[in-house]
């Protein structure tokens, strides 16, 4: 007798996503949906979709979602959590949203110790607008705006947001994971679940999980090569592990 041991979580809608083949957003969506299902908080969770490739996250996650101005998710989450303390508020943001235009919002939300959960997807490139350099782009990485590779003298160094936030007393849990292989995906799931549980248990402070995620299209690689590049190059600059909490 065969028993079903793995299937699509209920909090994930039954439709095809618009993401490119091999994109890490799909894995991140599934992990969040699994967490929401396991904690049984689907009825009281409100998600905030970002601007970026995952702008249509509300079409895929079957929870209440709002769409906010570019980078302002932590500010909106602040208001939602303060007025509805019994709700579970999470924001889902990419590196263009959180590390570029929304740097101020995330730093001040962490600084104030807002009781929200942030899922930060870092793919080292601006995906939706056509593969331009992001603050998180690695040195010597070729993008459409750095055709000769990112040069530290001209474009600066990759921005390590998690390290920045970890020094703030208002942030209680910061962890960086990678969506590179099944073992790392399992670790990422644990981290996301822990971040949600902290909010569920009324822990005072912001919890953030950074997920290194492949973007095969704008890294101009096959999905398998993108995973390899992430494991060999990206993890050197963005070391995995629990930075705080």
């Amino acid at each position: 007798m065969m028993q079903k041991v793995f299937t699509k979580p209920e909090a994930l809608k039954d439709c095809q996503t618009h993401y490119c083949p091999g994109c890490g957003h799909g894995i991140a969506h599934r992990l969040i949906a699994e967490t929401i299902d396991e904690l049984g908080i689907r009825g009281r969770t409100i998600g905030i979709a970002p601007v970026g490739c995952s702008v249509l996250a509300y079409d895929y996650l079957d929870v209440d979602m709002v769409e906010v101005a570019h980078g302002r998710a932590p500010a909106v989450a602040t208001g939602m959590k303060r007025t509805n303390p019994d709700k579970i508020i999470f924001s889902y943001q990419g590196d263009g949203d959180l590390a570029a235009i929304g740097t101020s919002e995330i730093i001040h939300a962490a600084h104030r110790g807002e009781q929200i959960t942030v899922i930060f997807i870092n793919n080292a490139v601006f995906g939706m607008t056509g593969g331009q350099m992001a603050p998180t782009t690695l040195l010597e990485q070729v993008t459409t705006t750095t055709p000769l590779g990112r040069d530290a003298g001209k474009q600066g160094y990759p921005l390590q947001v998690s390290e920045l936030l970890a020094i703030l007393p208002g942030a209680i849990y910061i962890e960086r994971c990678a969506l590179s292989n099944p073992a790392q995906v399992r670790k990422a799931k644990k981290a996301i679940k822990h971040a949600f549980e902290l909010q569920l248990n009324n822990a005072q402070g912001l919890s953030l999980v950074e997920l290194l995620s492949p973007c095969p299209t704008y890294w101009r690689m096959t999905p398998a090569k993108a995973i390899e590049w992430m494991e060999n190059e990206m993890i050197k600059i963005f070391p995995l592990g629990r930075l705080k909490g």
């Binding site: 065969m2 793995f6 994930l12 993401y19 083949p21 799909g26």
Partner: protein
Amino acid sequence: MAGKIIINAERCKGCGLCITVCPKGGITISKQSNKSGYFPAQASNTDCTGCATCAIICPDAAIEVYRENNILDKPYKKTAPNLKGKK
């Protein structure tokens, strides 16, 4: 066959990540495209153990995994070698 996977061909985009992680090499890319024009993955299911690594890495949640009951019921302790007794 201790396990079996079912790939939802309409959700699958043929990225091939499942092929890279399958320990038994039991997944290939189909020659038939789906409605979106992608060539989805297909499973042979001959040696499948139901380990679910393919489903865990799948970005499109397109894989359902089934496993034999008796494997699930058997506690790990009983199958693991008894290391404590050895000196």
